[in-house]
C-alpha cells in the first residue's frame, strides 16, 4: 500500500508539473474577479435589487461575500469546471500513450490495472482539488470584496430560492462543495474512460465535452422533462438542493448513487479496454 501511495505521489507530480494543469485554476481566478467587477455595474445591481425587492428583501442585506460566491460558482462551475476536468481527464492516459511515456512505464513490473487505478486516483484528486479551489477562491474573493453576511441563493433552473444566516450559509456552501466534487467525478470518469480507448487526447476531451454539453442542452428542452432525472447535468446540478429545505436527503443520495453507478459502468469499460489494448510504438 505504501508503494501505491509513492507511485500516486509521482503521478500527481507528473500531472502538476504540466502547465495546462494549472490553466483551470488561473481561468477561474480571472473569471471570479471579472464577475465581481461586473457585479458593481449599476445596471447589474439594479437587476439584483429588483429581484430582491419583488420578494420583499433589501439589496444591502444580501450584497455579501457568500451570496456573491454562490453566484460566481453556480453559473461557472459546471461549464468551466467541466471543461478543465475533461481536459485533464482526457489527457491522463491518452497523452502518455501519444507521447510514448506509457510504453516506458509498461516495461516495468506494474500491472495494467494498478496503473489504471493510479491514474484514476490522480483524476479524482485533481477534480476534488479544482472544485474546492473554485469554491474556496470564490468565497475568499467574495469575503474580501463584500465582507461576511447572509447568503442569498437563487437558482431558477432548479427552482431553488433561499436565505440563510452567515454560519448556516457557509455550512451549506461547504456541503454543496463536497457534493459537487463527488458529482463532477462523473465528468472526470467519462473523460478518463475515453482516454483509455484508442484515441487522441484532444478527441477524448472533445467527446467528453460534447456529451456534457448535449446532456445540458437536452435538459433545457421542456418536452424532455420526463427524462431529465436520467441526465448527468440534472444530477450534477443537485448540489444547489443543499440550499433548499424542501428537498430530502434521499433525493441527493439518489442522485449521487445514479452518478456513481454511471462511474462504475464507465470504469468497467475503461479497465476492459485498457487491459485488452495493444501498445505499439
Amino acid at each position: 500500500m505504501r508503494l501505491f501511495f509513492t507511485q500516486l505521489g509521482y503521478e500527481l507530480w507528473k500531472l502538476f508539473a504540466r502547465k495546462r494543469t494549472h490553466i483551470g485554476f488561473g481561468v477561474f481566478l480571472v473569471t471570479e474577479v471579472l464577475i465581481l467587477s461586473l457585479l458593481h455595474l449599476p445596471k447589474v445591481q439594479r437587476s439584483f435589487t429588483n429581484l430582491l425587492h419583488e420578494n420583499g428583501y433589501l439589496w444591502k442585506d444580501f450584497n455579501t461575500g457568500p451570496t456573491v460566491a454562490f453566484l460566481m460558482v453556480s453559473y461557472t462551475v459546471i461549464i468551466l469546471g467541466g471543461l478543465y476536468i475533461a481536459l485533464i481527464a482526457g489527457d491522463l492516459v491518452a497523452k502518455e500513450v501519444e507521447d510514448g511515456t506509457l510504453r516506458m512505464v509498461l516495461c516495468r513490473p506494474v500491472s495494467r490495472l494498478r496503473l489504471l487505478a493510479l491514474k484514476y486516483a490522480t483524476c479524482i484528486i485533481y477534480t476534488i482539488v479544482l472544485v474546492f479551489f473554485i469554491f474556496g477562491s470564490s468565497l475568499l474573493l467574495g469575503l474580501l470584496f463584500q465582507g461576511m453576511g447572509k447568503l442569498f441563493v437563487y437558482s431558477p433552473m432548479d427552482g431553488v430560492f433561499g436565505i440563510f444566516e452567515p454560519r448556516e450559509g457557509l455550512l451549506r456552501f461547504l456541503a454543496g462543495t463536497g457534493f459537487l466534487a463527488a458529482a463532477l467525478l462523473t465528468v472526470s470518469t467519462l473523460g478518463f474512460t475515453l482516454s483509455c480507448l484508442n484515441m487522441k487526447p484532444a478527441t477524448a476531451t472533445i467527446i467528453t465535452l460534447s456529451i456534457l454539453f448535449l446532456d445540458s442542452i437536452l435538459r433545457t428542452i421542456p418536452f424532455f422533462k420526463s427524462i431529465s432525472p436520467y441526465l448527468l447535468s440534472t444530477n450534477i446540478d443537485r448540489w444547489t438542493y443543499f440550499f433548499d429545505d424542501s428537498v430530502s436527503g434521499w433525493s441527493l443520495a439518489a442522485s449521487l448513487l445514479f452518478l456513481f453507478a454511471v462511474n462504475g459502468t464507465l470504469l468497467g469499460i475503461a479497465a476492459a479496454a485498457f487491459q485488452a489494448r495493444d501498445f505499439k510504438s
Binding site: 507528473k14 508539473a17 510504453r103 516495461c107
Partner: protein
C-alpha cells in the same frame, strides 16, 4: 532465458508476425535484425507484454509474459528506439518516477547508474533541454534500474556520436561479462551486431529469415590459392563442388562439398595448393542472403 514460441500477430487483418520461435540463452548477447516493418518492434512489444499475440507465447526466465507479468518484467530492463520522457521534469525525477513502478531504489544506486552512462553533470536538467544522445543515455540508465537479468536494447546507439557509440558498446560488453546480463540487441547497424552478437535472428516481413550462429553454418564460404587459382576455381565449379565465385579467390561450397574433398580433387587434377580455408561469414552477406531466401519463399 527468453523463449518465444510460435508467436503470431495480425494488425487489422494484416499479418505483422507469422508464427515465430526463437530462444535467447542466459548470459548471451543476442541480435534481432530486420529492416523497418520486419516485425522487430512487434516481437519486442510482445516480449514486454505490451502487445498481445494472436497465438503462441513469450516467456522470460520461465515466467510467461502475459500470465505472470510481474515475474517476467521484474527481470527485465528495456530501452526503446525513441525513448520518451516527461520533458518538463529533470532527468533525475524521470528516473525516480520510472523506477518507482518497479520499486523505489536507494539514491546511491541511481547515482552510480547515472555515472555509468555518463550523465552525471546534466542529470538535474530538464529533459526538454537534453540532446538526443543525452536522452539515449537517460533511457539506458532507466533500463539498468534496478539492475536487470535481461536487457532489451532497441537501437541503443541511435543518435550518438562515434565516441558515444564506442562507450555504449563497451558498456554492453561490460554488463554482459561482469554481471552475466542477457542482452537482446535490436539494431539496423550490422557492424554493431557483428561486433557483439554471435547468435541472432533475422526477420523479414514478419517471418524468420535466419536464426542461429551466423559466423558458421548457413553460408559456406572458402578462400583458395593455388599455382593457377582462377583455373582451379573454374574446375571446381564445373564439377559442382562450388556454387558461386567471388573476387580474391573466394567461393561458395555447394551443399554436398567440403574442404578436404575439394583439396583432394585439386591435388588429383595436378593443381598445387598454396592455401585453402574457410572464410568466416560476413554478417552483411548472411543478412542479404537470408532476406533473399525469404523473399523467394514468399513469392513461391
Amino acid at each position: 532465458m527468453i523463449r518465444i514460441e510460435g508467436i503470431a500477430k495480425k494488425f487489422g487483418g494484416r499479418p505483422a508476425l507469422h508464427p515465430l520461435s526463437f530462444e535467447v540463452r542466459r548470459g548471451e548477447i543476442f541480435g534481432l535484425l530486420g529492416h523497418n516493418g520486419a516485425g522487430k518492434s512487434t516481437t519486442i512489444g510482445i516480449l514486454l507484454g505490451q502487445i498481445y499475440p494472436d497465438s503462441g507465447q513469450a516467456s522470460i526466465g520461465g515466467c510467461n509474459v502475459h500470465q505472470d507479468r510481474h515475474g517476467a518484467l521484474s527481470r527485465l530492463g528495456a530501452l526503446f528506439e525513441a525513448p520518451a520522457f516527461y520533458n518538463e521534469l529533470s532527468g533525475w525525477t524521470n528516473l525516480r518516477i520510472l523506477t518507482a513502478y518497479s520499486r523505489p531504489l536507494p539514491r546511491k544506486q541511481l547515482e552510480a547508474t547515472v555515472e555509468m552512462v555518463g550523465l552525471s553533470g546534466r542529470i538535474g536538467d530538464r529533459v526538454s533541454r537534453y540532446s538526443h544522445g543525452m536522452r539515449q543515455r537517460l533511457a539506458l540508465a532507466q533500463a539498468l534500474l534496478p539492475l536487470p537479468e535481461v536487457l532489451i536494447l532497441d537501437e541503443p546507439t541511435e543518435g550518438l556520436d562515434p565516441e558515444g557509440i564506442h562507450e555504449i558498446r563497451n558498456l554492453i560488453l561490460r554488463l554482459n561479462r561482469e554481471h552475466g546480463m542477457t542482452i537482446v540487441l535490436c539494431s539496423h547497424l550490422l557492424t554493431e551486431v557483428e561486433h557483439l552478437c554471435p547468435r541472432l535472428v533475422i526477420l523479414r516481413e514478419g517471418r524468420r529469415a535466419f536464426y542461429g550462429q551466423w559466423r558458421e553454418g548457413g553460408v559456406r564460404r572458402v578462400r583458395l590459392a593455388t599455382d593457377r587459382t582462377d583455373d582451379s576455381l573454374a574446375l571446381l565449379q564445373r564439377q559442382g563442388l562450388l556454387t558461386e565465385l567471388f573476387p580474391g579467390g573466394e567461393a561458395l561450397l555447394s551443399a554436398a562439398a567440403n574442404i578436404p574433398e575439394i583439396a583432394s580433387y585439386l591435388v588429383q587434377a595436378g593443381h598445387r595448393i598454396e592455401a585453402i580455408g574457410r572464410v568466416e561469414n560476413r554478417l552483411e552477406e548472411v543478412y542479404l542472403r537470408a532476406l533473399q531466401d525469404v523473399k523467394e519463399e514468399s513469392s513461391a
